[in-house]
Symmetry: D3
Subunit: 282 residues, 6 copies
């Protein structure tokens, strides 16, 4: 993750929570009083976002002392201390909730990703578990980082850095009376030479045309395992195969075992519950 | 919700997904081709965010026709059409994912809130289910709206519009060798006269001092039901009582039955799974 | 005041004055020449904004040496040195006007507030003098700080952190054919439990309904002292009373003596003349 | 005034007051209820800022109907209706305070300027009354517009569009052991050919060197009328003369009569009291 | 080009030129006077940016009437009218320079690109002429559009949407004592599956390792035509080949004839002279 | 140049190139690996922008060590080392292209300006070579700095800091049936007293009216040298004379010799080719 890019997100979050001030701390706490606190895990899980939390605290308390006891990407058990922090109490308390909101969400995503990866490994030693664009508006760069911390891989970041032709695109081309295959060939002439083209299919019968048009990656949409196995046979390594659609912790092992190269899971980012983390007085 | 305030959020989300363009649509779809699509529910739940989704589509396709079939705040079953949209295909497809990301997340929150409210009503006809500041960075205004759409109420919006004295504040005051009660009284002299003061207690024994200091709302932190009942008796209506800490769908009925006025639930916003919603070609 | 929140204001002010450069200093002054200057008061008054001025100078001259001789909130006489500053002349001169513009305005507000508080104390030892939302667009957080430095208190910060039902609201409710009292009761069900409700009345006869609807603060709009005394009797401590409307340095003592809890004065921020302060070469 | 440039100011002001919403209006007023209100003057004065107020209302209520009854720059008496507005009540009430804050401040400045101009005209039919950079941070473009509406002229807008060499510049040059005259000549070689050079003098003896260095405008700092008359004689039209420093409504007539070309008055913008204007239900 | 993305660029450009106003037009031209003007070409060339120019005019004059006589991407001769515009004179004149600055620069780039493409076609019917990241800071999206309008293709947009391993990367890997080949293989495991990997080589001897590591595109840095021919033979279609480095209008035909797939030309964007275009009164 | 003003430009440029990250460096280079590189000139020319380049590198690598070997404004020959830099490789490589894009463009402008100045000096020892508003949108402040580094002078910065009445203004005034001379006189009454008025003429016959109206600078539009000589005679020092329109390196000597005071050259900024500069591993 490129820390330069996340400052604006952190600033937005602090402004959202701090607005024109923290009435509680400012009316109760002398600005010179100091404090030492421990950030620790209250639930088993994979931690992600410690450097984000540190940046949040540091933004409001530049004199912060931060001692990390763990690193992002580790699976840890409830009770593990993550970091010790000390500084002026009023400013640390102003940052607390924002820092925890980032850390709990990102760790929740890393933890869920890790569980999907573990299940998928039972079916395949090489299959990639990848995220989608079903991320929280504004937090994509962080959430995709959390997926990597959980052992997953990233799909394209957004509409600008990857070509993925979906069912609605195909329907529009058909409605306009155009040949899908010729349209694909023509598009391939336009896109930058550093990009691959990926296309969604919901039937094995669409695969030959896709291969002839030079599609590099085929997304198998909501297929069952039998269909996926058939697709693997049909393609014979001429394109990468991505399984997608309603993948769960229960089904992923079997999907992985079909031989597909990639499994994409929207739930990694859109439905991961927060991991419980607390900041406490010693 | 104040629509004026959410434009910046929508713009941020579109910029995140669109960056310098949508390579797929721009290389495949003629900008003049039009399309009609249906937004519909794929799972039972309470819908929230339809006007947000409309604004996203309209931001990219100003010529959009949008016909809402449902309104925010309704419980609907899988398969229900939410809105029909038509316009230029390239621009609608550019907006699709961002619109759905908002709609699915907000509807997920409304749906979970609605379930908590339903359970709580079994124990009390008047108790308020309220959210917390454990929201997604950047989306608080939207997520608090979704809580209301699910039948919940809002706690303070951020650090600037409510006073909530928590355990860490009390620990710092104690560490500084100050009397908590006198510090509270002094703070009450400073805060604006339009605000109440709320304080967290983890023991019944803290309540008398809180009342004497003029605390308006007492937050009962992680107490069991017996303690809550005792707190209700102790306070006798001289302050509002808010139950907080690890509240689940299983425990909320009994908590509600203790007679507390308010139950706050962080999970409403930090752990609500997305509600499945789709945009499909007819 | 939360210094984090005022950086954007300072940057806006510097950009306004500096645009693409300071033609005078850049064509006359070698960037390495240094200077020592004294900031001093040219008029008696209460100073407010020294830390703001320091931030302005520091933003343009990071190597600034700043020695404060006084603190915000003090009443000082003409001629008092406020701070000594030294650094590179070109950058200090670029910041001078912006720093003074903040300091003179905020000190003007603190000085006027202090005069109102002094007069009010003659009539009551406990009455609060509070500001309004009649502040300079963009400077509210600073101006409300200046009011506190002058011994005043703050009313709500903006439309989001307090409920104040004014005559126009009541007129609209009446025009819509609704019962004011029932509308108030219904609104009380919606607003967050940490907020009080304040209502403006222009007649004593409105008070009983307000109390029954659970109004916490009653604003007495443009009443004379006799009416205010009557209102104090009527309310008997069941709500706070705020006097408002055309309060002057001449009338405030008598208003304070009526027993109202709060007196709000728009002039504190909308009509305070600047306090004369200068930056001079020794 | 260039309306394009004031949108950002208006948006900043609305965000400051509206934050995440208007709790009062949103809990009391149905969004579809409409209202008609009159904006009218409660004090005699010169009006400035009506188009700014209109833009504020329109930003929050795009369906606003606005009928202006007066134009900026007119002297009007208390009670004069300025504009009639109608639209949805909730949105008009959200905009009211911000619109009035702009209008009252700008009209206050126009009114004070008008009084200075009237007094100055008694001493000279041609002297210009000009503003300074002692404006409210963030509002300079609006305040300088208000000065023009009151019959005044503008000095330079900021550090980038005019050269004004002040006492501190001269002190620094002297401290660096440089010749002021040669430094001025050298600076004249550097500045764009479309700009004049203005210099502050506090003694008649500085004038000859200034003229020889090609100074176009001479600022007479805190001189008395005798000195100004002497300066006018000395210069004999070879440069413009600007009187500055502590000019009041009482002194300006005599200053104007000295024959100076320009009189600058900081108080126009830093100490003008707001003009009382109200928005009322009919 | 995605028009949504260029609004911020247009606004930045207008703010840069307009700041707080256009003193000339505002002091000379009545805001209600209207005008009709013709935008026309003063030099032969390929036009690009007409819709950008229209947006600039429209931003300042919303009532603009704009009639385009030509479309982007056409080669046109000196004297050709490009568009007729009419509206209020003051606002059109405020926009003129900014609109022309965009249009002249983009048309300059399209024109130069078109000349490179024409020369390259003499050597190869399929070779792509592509741009680089050597664009004007802030204008990349527009300049890459202009390249396409001139018949060129785009390379990656920025560091986020393509992998290009350059000499400095390789030097750092070597300095760190790592195997380049293994580092490449490891990187390929990390990057999203929708992206290709491109690597720069300055010697034919580096090609076998690159192919074994799975490199998809090989950039031949500053090679002469003999070396390029050898590279084409060596690679035999297993990767795309991109020629780069000091390509001129004189050398491009021979480079194209070597059989490389792509030729990248930094000069398209960093050294294209503006195309002369004027806005004139009829 | 005022470094404070260029930070936003640098940040915009970095965001444009870095978006959500640098996939290449992040997948290949360990964040702790360090590197030393040399910035050097590959072509003869005048350097401009070294401090800008340094700021770009420092923004991404705060621990950068930067040793400048040359200063802006010098003419240097190909091969000259400009600066040595060392720091963490991943962050330096992220900044490289942006830093070079600024440096090459600004040095290109300085170099071209220097050539125009050299040619003009052959015809006149005092004539000023000035830039225009034909700059790259967003980079004006930097490009005007580069012109000064090349020995040129700046014309007005933008529409706000200078009055320049052009042919289209005159046409509009005429079309409205107004007297140009009276309109000029009236405008002179309105503009700030620190500004001069410049007017474009395309015929000698317009000069007398311009002088009578008090025009300070006369722009001779596309006149030949004979006309310019005649204009010089006509004006006799009562106004400055600026030659403009299609000035080239070949024609500038003769234009300078006509006796005009100023020659403006749009090509300095709109058509300067980049100067070739490289960052290389030692």
């Amino acid at each position: 993750m490129n820390w330069y890019n996340i400052y604006p997100i952190i600033q937005m979050a602090i402004e959202e929570d701090l607005s024109w001030g923290d009435i509680t701390s400012e009316s109760l706490i002398d600005p010179n009083w100091t404090i030492e606190l421990i950030l620790y895990l209250k639930q088993d899980g994979v931690i992600a976002g410690l450097p984000v939390a540190e940046l949040v605290f540091r933004e409001l308390e530049p004199e912060l002392e931060w001692t990390a006891h763990q690193e992002d990407g580790q699976f840890l058990t409830a009770g593990t201390p993550l970091a010790s922090i000390s500084g002026r109490a009023q400013f640390i308390l102003k940052a607390e909730r924002v820092a925890l909101n980032f850390l709990q969400r990102l760790s929740g995503i890393a933890t869920l990703t890790s569980r999907f990866v573990t299940e998928a490994r039972k079916g395949s030693s090489t299959v990639r578990i990848v995220d989608t664009r079903k991320t929280t508006p504004g937090l994509r760069i962080l959430e995709k980082y959390a997926v990597r911390m959980g052992g997953g891989h990233n799909h394209r970041h957004n509409l600008s850095d990857g070509v993925l032709i979906k069912d609605n695109h195909l329907a529009i081309i058909a409605k306009a009376g155009k040949s899908v295959k010729e349209t694909l060939i023509s598009a391939k002439q336009k896109i930058p030479h550093v990009m691959k083209m990926e296309m969604e299919v919901d039937s094995i019968s669409q695969i030959p045309d896709a291969l002839e048009a030079g599609i590099d990656v085929i997304l198998l949409d909501n297929m069952n395992c039998e269909e996926m196995i058939q697709a693997v046979k049909e393609v014979q390594g001429r394109a990468l195969l991505e399984a997608s659609g309603g993948v769960t912790l229960k089904t992923i092992e079997n999907i992985a075992a079909t031989g597909v190269d990639i499994i994409s899971v929207g739930a990694l980012t859109h439905s991961a519950p927060a991991l419980d983390i607390s900041l406490d007085y010693q």
